[in-house]
């Protein structure tokens, strides 16, 4: 165990933030595992990325600032980069899923080539494993 001796004012927040960050991460990933459709699942990790990462980053900042007795804030960069990249991932993935579903449904029911979007969200897509089409690629 190489953790440095920290004063109480630093140790307690770090500990709390770590526990909180860990918990949120766990809950977020649990959501990923537990929720029923892809469109729901994508919301699970979001809390891990936003809050879980945030807590742990802050914990890290506080810890190293206290441990090294100097201002350590380079974790901010991680935060900034995550803020800039996570939306891209979410948007692209969501849109990919949407059009894949639309296409899959159009292929299954050619008459309904362009179904309204509203219908999509509620449908569970578990049954449709993507064997040959895109997933097999």
């Amino acid at each position: 165990m190489s953790v440095a001796m920290l004063p109480w004012w630093a140790a307690v927040p770090v500990a709390v933030l770590l526990v909180l960050g860990g918990l949120i991460t766990l809950v977020g990933t649990l959501g990923l595992l537990r929720l029923k459709t892809f469109y729901q699942r994508i919301h699970g990790p979001a809390i891990a990325i936003s809050m879980g990462a945030g807590c742990i980053l802050v914990a890290s900042m506080v810890y190293f600032t206290a441990a090294q007795s100097r201002l350590v804030i380079h974790e901010l960069l991680i935060g900034a980069f995550v803020l800039m990249t996570a939306p891209v991932v979410a948007m692209l993935l969501m849109r990919a899923a949407l059009y894949r579903d639309l296409r899959g449904r159009a292929a299954a029911r050619p008459a309904l080539a362009q179904p309204p979007v509203g219908e999509l969200g509620t449908e569970t897509d578990e049954q449709r494993t993507d064997a040959a089409g895109g997933g097999g690629r």
Partner: protein, 174 residues
């Protein structure tokens, strides 16, 4: 000036990044960071067709960020509860469409960042003809409330930040 320093904000950002990365404020790093702050945007410029954003109202931006941060925490708790406590079948996930007035690409980017960072909502697409935002909401109670919140709490301030009060779109070719 603009030729050699297309976006001072970006350059400062890069310099700060460099200093923070190196965790150092030695003169050598200031110099090197400054050089990178100048050179990197210049080298990247051909690949930036939308130019650089110009913040008209930085203070509005800060306020917006603060509000969003609170919203993020609130939503996180909500989503966490839903995941843990509610049966997945009982969660009412829906796509909704939000008509937007915001045109600035940078503004839209900021909007998407805020929406996506807020748990419970995901930006799906911007429908080209209607200029509507297709949004996925984790647990939808009231569609109108969502549309209203987004338009007033987010879109409005963003338009203010990037376009000042005026309606002129910004961000043509740099």
């Amino acid at each position: 000036m603009k030729r050699w320093l297309p976006s001072p904000l970006l350059s400062i950002g890069l310099l700060l990044t460099w200093l923070v990365l190196n965790q150092s404020s030695e003169p050598a790093h200031w110099l090197l960071g400054a050089a990178l702050g100048v050179v990197a945007p210049l080298l990247a410029r051909p690949l930036l067709p939308h130019g650089h954003a110009r913040l008209r109202r930085p203070r509005a931006l800060l306020r917006l960020l603060w509000l969003s941060a609170i919203e993020i925490i609130r939503s996180s708790v909500n989503v966490g509860q839903l995941i843990l406590l509610r049966k997945p079948e009982a969660v009412n996930s829906q796509f909704i469409r939000v008509p937007l007035d915001l045109r600035s690409p940078h503004g839209l980017a900021l909007l998407s960042c805020l929406i996506n960072s807020t748990p419970g909502t995901v930006w799906v697409d911007l429908l080209p003809e209607s200029h509507e935002l297709l949004l996925h909401v984790f647990d939808l109670n009231d569609e109108a409330w969502w549309i209203d919140t987004i338009k007033t709490s987010y879109e409005g301030p963003i338009i203010e930040v990037f376009e000042g009060a005026g309606p002129t779109p910004e961000g043509e070719e740099a």
